[in-house]
């Protein structure tokens, strides 16, 4: 029951609201600059510079995240959840999350993680960011295979020649 449990536990509005949300909500949220900035700031906090892994910023992970969740094959409930989760984080932090200091962001995210909603949301952001960093560079992140190199590994051969996102066979 994995996914349903995640949505029920995760939703602040309840499952039915998530499922009945109209596509226009998604459009509004996804084109909101603020939502993008918030998610990007969270990714940069999870994957900062001066870590053994390349930073979120240098790997352009935000582009990957939006390209992935806005693709027509992506689960629309999770898409909405990700967008709404960013809004909720901003609401909790009175709209200033992006401009908080490092320590304030740490406090805000750990506090958010204490709610089941926030915990699910942060897990989703973590997964999407790792997917960006550690997938084939063809997907636009993992530039020069830097994330693979940091882990002393590399993808298998043959590498993909095209992104599955555009594969309509």
């Amino acid at each position: 029951m994995k996914r349903r449990v995640f949505l029920i536990l995760g939703s602040i509005f309840g499952l039915s609201s998530i499922l009945s949300s109209k596509d226009t909500d998604v459009l509004k949220l996804s084109s909101s600059l603020q939502v993008k900035k918030t998610i990007s700031a969270v990714q940069e906090h999870l994957f900062p510079t001066q870590s053994l892994l390349p930073s979120a910023k240098s790997m352009q992970v935000i582009e990957f995240l939006f390209e992935t969740i806005m693709h027509k094959t992506y689960d629309k409930d999770i898409r909405l959840f990700i967008l709404q989760g960013a809004k909720e984080l901003e609401r909790r932090e009175r709209g200033v999350f992006v401009s908080l200091t490092f320590l304030e962001k740490e406090r805000a995210l750990r506090a958010y993680e204490n709610s089941s909603y926030g915990s699910s949301w942060l897990s989703q952001i973590m997964v999407l960011t790792l997917e960006a960093m550690l997938s084939d560079p063809i997907y636009g992140s993992n530039i020069h295979q830097e994330a693979w190199s940091a882990l002393g590994t590399n993808g298998g051969e043959p590498r993909p020649k095209k992104e599955y996102l555009f594969d309509e066979i």
Binding site: L46, R159, P160, Y164, D167
Partner: protein, 559 residues
């Protein structure tokens, strides 16, 4: 046009039959709902194949529902809601395209489990309608055609072989096997080389394995893996007798009389065009749960409860594989026999299994059917391994701490994994029926799988897992864990159309022909009344070749 034979499903079960018939000169149409992906199109794109499942249907379009017991009541969840599904690879070649190719024959006593152990409380165990000796020639034929490589074992529980050798040597092994073999020896356990459906050397148009490091869940770019496509469909196409139709979804089988299937109703999944296709004989091999679903969806006025279901047994006694898995970490400082660099060498296999506990006679627990255990490296998927390592005490790791943790995980240790395979005892609360409310995107009722394990399965799994943990401990592994529970793995499915001699208690006869309808066969793992304690593919290949040969004989008799 009327084909000699129409086969539904291009996996191991369908390809085995199609191959035999095409070789014998019969015209066969092989219908596959998935697309065709050519060998040269496969890549090791983890995001596509593992994270986004591009080779299974979109879960919102095609799905099933799963019924589990929750607080004493049966609760049904659709697979699009749970993310837990039994799709395993829906392209030409089916799931075998993505298998790891660890191949095992069943033991002769697996064919007569009821005779050996008697009735087990709460289970519907029946002996098979054939013996191991009847299937053995086809195991050998499959070994040759598929290109199964290995070493003939002489363990007391190894199934007898009519051929003492394998035609190719086993695939290459990582040096960790020295440590594994020594640890087993020290514990008085026999370690065996696992046969693999993987060529170690070039053969015809198929190249030998190049140890790509990403095998299970990925298509093979060399043709070394003995998938249905590489092993049987390509040779069948070469006869000129096979018409392979991808993107062809079979909605139902149609009859004009009680005794004969006349045609199949198919839908082109791209153009959405529907048409009927005609043949003399029909073979269903859509993977066990979907084969039963297709026959249930083909109910008609002669068979209102599902085609060829006069016994009422269609969909019943669904089998999975009991057991579970476990793993341990090997760190540099614990290694003595081998260097850390050789442990970390990428691509080479472990290829080791243990049969010592296949049949157990315990001084306290008594006599019972145990199972097989298989040792391997953890799948090397980079994203999945990283994602699994992001939690520490239920909190997410992030920042510098995450960086240090991941680098250490990936560069300072390697996980050895074991998989436990035990019988999934057949019983009355594990079956497939049609869901009354849910339909797939093509308008057909989806399958509803009621899943529950017999309590004995978990006990046996736990018994074997303890033994495996001891092996890992002897090897010097740390953080050893095992996960044994009542949840089945998604990729090993059998039963649902049992074969047997009595038409009142089985759907199929010993040749996997339905008792009710002479020109209808089922050739995937559906026929199995019990599943043995091994992964199924070698048995499915062998049986499908046997069924194919029988259909050839019948067609010859007719003409």
């Amino acid at each position: 046009m009327k084909y000699d034979v129409i086969v539904v499903g291009s996996g191991v079960g369908g390809a085995g039959v199609a191959y035999s018939l095409c070789k014998a000169g019969y015209k066969v149409a092989l219908l596959e709902k998935g697309k065709l992906i050519k060998r040269e199109e496969f890549s090791k794109d983890e995001l596509a194949y593992v994270r986004r499942d591009i080779v299974t249907p979109n879960p919102f379009e095609e799905y099933h529902t799963i019924e589990e017991r929750v607080d004493g009541a049966w609760v049904s969840t659709s697979t699009y809601a749970s993310g837990w599904s039994f799709w395993n690879g829906n392209i030409v070649g089916g799931s075998s395209t993505f298998m790891s190719g660890m191949f095992h024959r069943m033991h002769p006593d697996d064919f007569r489990l009821k005779s050996k152990y008697g009735k087990i409380k709460g289970a519907n165990v029946e002996d098979w309608a054939i013996s191991y000796e009847e299937l053995e020639p086809y195991y050998t034929l499959a070994e040759e055609l598929v290109g199964i490589t290995g070493r003939a074992n002489t363990h007391r529980f190894s199934p007898p072989r009519s051929r003492t050798y394998f035609s190719q040597a086993p695939t290459k092994e990582n040096e960790v096997v020295k440590l594994f073999d020594k640890s087993c020896k020290d514990l008085g356990v026999t370690s065996l080389v696992t046969a693999r459906a993987i060529l170690s050397k070039d053969r015809g148009t198929r190249k030998g394995c190049y140890y790509s490091n990403f095998c299970g869940s990925y298509g093979c770019s060399s043709g070394a893996k003995g998938s249905a496509m590489e092993a049987l469909i390509k040779p069948a196409l070469a006869t000129g007798n096979l018409t392979l139709m991808s993107n062809t979804y079979v909605k139902k089988l149609l009859c004009n009389t009680e005794t004969e299937v006349e045609s199949v109703l198919v839908l082109n999944t791209i153009t959405k065009e529907e048409k009927q296709l005609f043949a003399k004989v029909f073979v269903v091999a859509a993977q066990a749960h979907e084969s039963a679903r297709l026959l249930l969806n083909s109910a008609n006025k002669y068979y209102p409860d599902g085609l060829a279901n006069s016994s009422g047994e269609l969909g019943k006694n669904l089998l999975f594989s009991g057991g579970g898995y476990g793993y341990g970490e090997l760190h540099k400082d614990a290694l003595q026999q081998i260097s850390f660099a050789s442990l970390m060498q990428k691509g080479l296999f472990i290829n080791r299994s243990i049969l010592d506990w296949y049949f157990v006679e315990h001084w306290w627990k008594g006599k019972f059917k145990g199972g097989l255990v298989e040792f391997m490296f953890e799948h090397q998927n980079i994203i999945s391994r990283a994602v699994r390592s992001t939690k520490s005490e239920h909190k997410l790791l992030w920042g510098k701490a995450l960086g240090e943790h991941l680098v250490s995980k990936f560069t300072k240790s390697k996980n050895v994994r074991f998989e436990v395979f035990t019988d999934w005892l057949p019983h009355s609360n594990c079956f497939i029926s049609l869901d009354k409310t849910h339909k797939d995107t093509y308008g057909m009722p989806v399958g509803k799988l009621r899943i529950e394990a017999h309590p004995q399965d978990v006990k046996v799994g736990e018994y074997l897992a303890k033994k495996c943990e001891a092996v890992l401990e002897e090897m010097g592994a740390t953080n050893i864990r095992s996960v044994i529970n009542a949840l089945p793995p998604p990729n090993l499915i059998a039963g649902g159309c049992r074969f047997g001699t009595n038409p009142k208690t089985s759907v199929l006869n010993k040749y996997c022909q339905t008792h009710d309808i002479e020109n209808l066969f089922v050739s995937d793992a559906s026929f199995m009344p019990t599943g043995g304690s091994t992964p199924y593919s070698w048995t499915i290949y062998a049986n499908a070749l046997r069924v194919g040969e029988h259909i050839v004989k019948q067609l010859r008799k007719r003409s």
